[in-house]
């Protein structure tokens, strides 16, 4: 039982929570010692390899392929060969393959969840309750579109593009794979997908699902590797590139593709404003703030990393937030009680540390709840900065870690102006009890997704994507089909 300390005149403060460790068993997963390239339904022996780690323990998990440009071009050629038959299949048949994949993912979700947490560092309760159900739902959702494309784009004779090269990030490895592969296949394209360098394992396990579903060889090809593999895929003769990742890399891809005529969609970084008005349900808002920035260690492109609180409630909101932060359990990603897992990689940890140091230097006030971080692995305590000016780097740059910057505002106009004062425009949050104000704010916020009285909520039917430097194109919903079809302005 929790020991609760009572303070006069304020809410009870949880003093210490004790839980027995409740680790999820690793036994359900069998990781191969070595993985090749999944091309044409076969495992090809790679010429170069690297080792993938568990970020929570730094223990090596497997040797995986570092695909070379030649190998990438070969995968694209194989995907090209598979395209003719796959695109000629009746949509209703393509749909059945996708339904199968959705079902297999549901069946094997525990296995995938454990592997996702092991390789990526995210808490098992998130991979189990968010990543896996959403990934399966995404395949199920797009399966149903495969034979209904004419309803999505009436009179446009929608046609698949050909081979899609897809490059995904390390924050939601399997879910991003689902976001990319499901609509591409539903529309009749074949794909070559490159998982992120640090999190290849669930994509490699997905190859097993592809075989289990008896998907025709070459329709889905997976090539692992670092940024150079991604660059090789961008340069390869594909018809479309879909990229999710940092704005810097997105811009590099844009210049690389300049004049090539290849279709492109980009889902890039963010520095989202989460805006709390004085009439909001404060406790509910505090939960939303925590979910907005500490979900998945803040490794979320739409993370609510800038908190704007109306001045009159700034103090109680920040107080409650700090108290809530003290209850977050940081540690073993495989423990079912864990709220905040491991930082995905050493490089990312260093980036977070560098920006947090800059926040301190520039004069912001830092708060971190007392918590013991494991000695091995990559960890960063949940962090909140107050007394932040808009010009500070921690208010301008994407940190992609569990670090929140708190700013204040007085009027709704001021909130809008400050929230929009960023080159990004992926998402925003609004907390108020007033429905008309939600819509007033939503109309003015320059962001592709606006959550009201909730945050970081996703659904396969809900289009997701950015304004401004957060990229273009949508994933999810009917609009998520457009980038994979010709005859519908899909490059728009």
């Amino acid at each position: 039982m929790a020991e609760v300390e009572k303070r006069r005149g304020s809410a009870p403060v949880p003093h210490e929570w004790t839980y027995a460790p409740a680790p999820e068993s690793r036994e359900i997963v069998s990781i191969h010692e070595r993985y090749g390239l999944f091309v044409g339904g076969e495992w090809l022996e790679p010429t170069e390899t690297y080792t993938t780690l568990s970020p929570a323990s730094e223990e090596p998990l497997a040797t995986v392929a570092q695909a070379t440009p030649t190998e990438v071009r070969h995968a694209v050629a194989v995907a090209r060969e598979a395209f003719a038959d796959w695109s000629a299949l009746p949509g209703s048949e393509r749909a059945k393959y996708l339904f199968r994949i959705a079902r297999i993912l549901q069946e094997r979700s525990r296995e995938f969840a454990v592997l996702e947490s092991l390789n990526g560092g995210k808490p098992i309760k998130e991979s189990r309750d968010v990543d896996l159900p959403l990934a399966a739902a995404h395949f199920f959702y797009y399966a149903g579109w495969a034979d209904k494309l004419e309803y999505a784009f009436p009179n446009r004779k929608p046609r698949p593009l050909g081979v899609a090269g897809q490059i995904i990030p390390w924050n939601f490895p399997l879910l991003m794979l689902a976001w990319k592969i499901a609509p591409a296949l539903a529309a009749g394209n074949t794909v070559v997908l490159k998982p992120a360098e640090t999190t290849p394992l669930t994509a490699l396990l997905f190859c097993d699902v592809v075989r289990q579903a008896e998907l025709p060889p070459g329709v889905v090809n997976i090539v692992t590797g670092d940024g150079s593999t991604g660059a090789a895929l961008v340069d390869a003769p594909v018809d479309k590139i879909a990229f999710t990742g940092s704005t810097d890399v997105g811009k590099a891809i844009l210049s690389r593709l300049a004049g090539s005529g290849k279709k492109l969609t980009l889902e890039l970084g963010g520095k989202a404003a989460n805006i709390v008005f004085d009439d909001a349900a404060i406790d509910q808002a505090v939960e939303g703030i925590v979910n907005g920035i500490y979900f998945n260690q803040g490794h979320v492109c739409c993370a609510g990393s800038r908190l704007f609180v109306q001045e009159s409630v700034a103090e109680p909101v920040v107080d409650k937030l700090k108290r809530r932060m003290a209850t977050l359990r940081v540690g073993d990603p495989l423990d079912k009680n864990t709220d905040v897992g491991a930082i995905n990689s050493k490089a990312q940890l260093e980036k977070i540390e560098e920006l947090v140091a800059a926040g301190r230097d520039e004069g912001a006030e830092i708060y971190q709840p007392p918590c013991r971080l494991p000695e091995r692995g990559y960890w960063f305590a949940p962090t909140v900065f107050t007394k932040v000016a808009q010009s500070y780097r921690i208010a301008q740059e994407e940190i992609f870690g569990p670090v929140l910057s708190v700013l204040t505002f007085r009027t709704p106009d001021e909130a809008v102006e400050k929230a929009n004062n960023t080159p990004y425009g992926l998402s925003a949050g609004v907390w108020t009890e007033k429905g008309s104000r939600i819509l007033w704010m939503a109309e003015r916020l320059r962001a592709g997704v606006v959550w009201a009285n909730t945050y970081n909520r996703f659904d396969p039917a809900s289009p997701f994507g950015g304004y401004k430097e957060s990229g273009f194109g949508r994933e999810g919903g009917l609009h998520g089909l457009a980038p994979y079809l010709d005859g519908n302005g899909g490059d728009a």
């Binding site: 606006v450 009201a452 909730t454 659904d459 809900s462 289009p463 609009h479 728009a492």
Partner: protein
């Protein structure tokens, strides 16, 4: 010697609803006339004017924007003979006028055909609406000088964007005539800005301008790859269309999609 000396027109730029000369003071010769040769500074002034005008234009009701576009068609029809002389003849002019009419009728249908309400899990009303991307730069094709410009301009404008367009370099007079029609219609000052001059001199500044949200490179010819590279700096939306096409998707290329999760509760 004629009985009466005709008054010759000075061909100027169209920026912020006014007709300034190029700040550079330079002109160039095209179609037998001296035409303003805009400078980098003129480009920036035009972007500032467009940015200032955009919120009000986007904030007008869709029905109102439709009427404003229709009014442009009315103004052009009245000047059809002049346009025919400056552009490629009567047929081009009529098609340009009809293009405005077609897009005018789309203004108040965009949210219905491009938006959606999305069935999500949980107590949320989830909907997606199209919104203007902001300031759009257009590099209009040389040919056809009037229809090409209108083909690119109308779809960008109808969705609520403000525009800075570079006219046909070889035949800019129809664009200037169009500016005069726009100035006498109900288009708010600054919502459309038209520059004449050398494409290779001006387009790169539009492509790299950090306050331009999208660029239409339909008329960019050999400059296209360079413009796309410059546009990467702020992740501009790049559109390469046709000088003679007309579709819903010409409009959506200049729109963003916003999805809102609105709570449902007591």
């Amino acid at each position: 010697m004629p009985d009466r000396l005709p008054i010759k027109k000075t061909y100027k730029l169209f920026v912020g609803g006014a007709f300034p000369r190029s700040e550079s003071g330079r002109t160039y010769e095209a179609q037998g006339q001296n035409v303003a040769r805009a400078s980098r500074k003129d480009v920036r002034d035009a972007v500032v004017a467009a940015r200032a005008a955009q919120p009000k234009w986007a904030g007008a009701t869709a029905y109102n924007r439709g009427q404003v576009l229709y009014r442009i068609a009315e103004m052009m029809e009245a000047r059809a003979a002049e346009f025919a002389e400056l552009a490629g003849g009567r047929d081009e002019v009529e098609r340009a006028i009809d293009r405005w009419v077609w897009y005018a009728g789309f203004a108040d249908k965009l949210a219905q055909v491009l938006g959606s309400s999305n069935p999500v899990a949980g107590p949320y009303f989830n909907f997606t609406v199209p919104e203007p991307t902001g300031v759009v730069a257009i590099v209009a094709p040389d040919e056809p000088p009037l229809l090409g410009l209108v083909t690119r301009l109308a779809p960008a404008l109808v969705g609520g964007n403000a525009v800075v367009a570079l006219a046909s370099e070889t035949s800019p007079l129809a664009a200037i005539e169009l500016a005069e029609a726009l100035a006498t219609s109900d288009v708010p000052a600054g919502a459309v800005n038209l520059l004449t001059g050398f494409r290779a001199e001006l387009a790169p500044w539009l492509a790299s301008h950090m306050d331009v949200n999208a660029i239409d490179v339909t008329g960019a010819d050999g400059l296209r790859a360079d413009l796309e590279r410059a546009a990467a700096d702020n992740v501009k939306r790049v559109v390469a269309g046709s000088p003679d096409s007309q579709s819903l998707y010409e409009i959506s290329a200049f729109l963003e999609l916003k999805t809102v999760w609105h709570p449902i509760g007591m």
